[in-house]
Amino acid sequence: MIEYDSHKKLPPFLDELIQLFHYHELIFLITGNILKNRYKRSVLGILWMLLNPLLQTIVLAIAFGAMFKSSLSNYPVYLLSGLLTWNFITQTTQYSMGTMAYGGGLLKKIYIPRATYIIAAVGNGFVNFMISIFSMVIVVLFLGHPIESSWFFLPFSIIIITVFSLGFALLLSTASVFFVDSIDIYQVLIQAFFFLTPIIYPISTLPSYWSGLMAWNPFYYFVEIFRMPIYENTLPGNDLILISSLLATSTLLIGWLIFTSKADQLAYRL
């Protein structure tokens, strides 16, 4: 009976997948612990996950509400639906970069699947995302914004966004191990993309040559696919569905292949 053979019989992308399956309970535990730790010491606890996006929306709505009053009715709904997607993508990617670059210590000490912490980070972000949807419902009900059958599309939007986040997190985490400052570079880039993506403003305010460029902004598609069923109460068009799911799956595929092919070097580099 051979328990371990350093010669791989399987390609890395498959080997890591099997190991993750074997260690799935560890991933659930770590995901749970991240959630517990974040809110354990605060009085309001899990309520913060609801309050955080609400407060963010109130602040931004006060700041920009007047500006887009004429073009966007129920501006807080528009704003929050964009923010939730944005926060999910950026928070999970930043968190997983951080844990790999600074918290990868465990990978140096003992064998666990290399992607454990990244998947736990995305899992944690996913739970946050789910809970913050309640804050979305609160805002929608409060403003009397209609809820229609288009909301049934949201699970698909969420799956697409999660797949993209996981792939993106895998790519960025690999980079963060090889170049420490990729975390800072990413920080600056997402700040820029926050304003380059129509989150706080409608795309119609942009001059036409700018809105044409939006086709090259991947975040645009993911923000739109979550926002449309909520704000416009319409199903996303076929183009949008096709492009966003292709983007998401190809990012995950490429991210997984790159991460697993570099995974053995991680313990050397960390």
Binding site: M1, D5, N33, K109, I110, D264
Partner: protein, 253 residues
């Protein structure tokens, strides 16, 4: 008590294992510097450093092996490559059995979580299922001697308590292979006796033990064979007394 017959069975096998680290001549951990160098067409030069060099040996079931050598000789790298933390650059490592590394007791412990929660967490890190741990929980808690503190956060524990809990989890199931860095000195005198007794029991029942040590006396006492590593090369492997003799002669000559 069930006693494994110490049959001649190779349990650890290393074939021409080389572990190579790539050491850049200048430190360039940032993308910024890398990009600047690339723009200036100044390529970064690396040198290769072999922490282990073409190391081959095999260990039979039930043996106790001492690993000796100076600091930086490659002993820790050897343990890492055996406990599958790093994969060899070249060569092959084969293990026939579950390994319990007692190098990092309580790896992955979360300070904010209670002792009980951490038993499940550390158990999962070691590859046990939740069900498995749940059925062993009582035995682990009893052995650790943590008592009522088991439901207090780990951050309130003394370092001795943390190590005791880590040891209790890592050794609750008899492993085929035990790996130690120096002879264990976990907790107080009483616990040291208890933990040593457990290890000896496992050894008696057929577990193979690997110990890295700087103490020739304990190697002489415990190990039937010894491995001497120098500059990443396997300098000598053989009967403990022979290897220790050569080793000390080499040091004092």
């Amino acid at each position: 008590m069930w006693v494994f017959k110490a049959v001649n069975k190779t349990i650890i096998q290393l074939d021409n294992v080389t572990v190579r680290f790539r050491v850049p001549h200048e430190k360039i951990p940032t993308f910024q510097e890398y990009a600047i160098r690339w723009l200036k067409k100044r390529r970064v030069t690396y040198s290769n450093f072999n922490a282990l060099n073409d190391v081959s040996f095999s260990v039979q079931q039930g043996e106790t092996i001492g690993i000796i050598g100076a600091n930086g000789a490659g002993k820790s790298t050897l343990l890492k490559v055996i406990s599958r933390v790093i994969r060899p650059t070249q060569g092959r490592v084969l293990l026939r059995g579950r390994i319990a590394p007692l190098l990092e007791l309580g790896a992955g412990f979360d300070d904010e979580m209670t002792g009980r929660e951490n038993i499940f967490l550390n158990g999962a890190v070691l590859g046990f299922s939740r069900k498995d741990i749940a059925s062993r929980l009582e035995g682990i808690v009893n052995f650790s001697g943590i008592g009522e503190f088991i439901d207090a956060p780990i951050r309130t524990y003394s370092s001795g308590m943390v190590a005791r809990l880590g040891f209790a989890i890592a050794t609750d199931v008899q492993p085929e292979i035990l790996i130690m860095d120096e002879v264990l000195s976990v907790g107080d005198a009483e616990f040291q006796k208890k933990s040593m007794a457990r290890i000896m029991k496992y050894h008696h029942n057929g577990s193979t033990i690997l110990i890295v040590s700087h103490n020739p006396n304990s190697v002489n006492q415990l190990c039937n064979r010894a491995i001497w590593i120098e500059h990443g090369f396997l300098k000598m492997i053989g009967q403990t007394s022979d290897v220790l003799n050569q080793y000390s002669r080499n040091i004092y000559s």
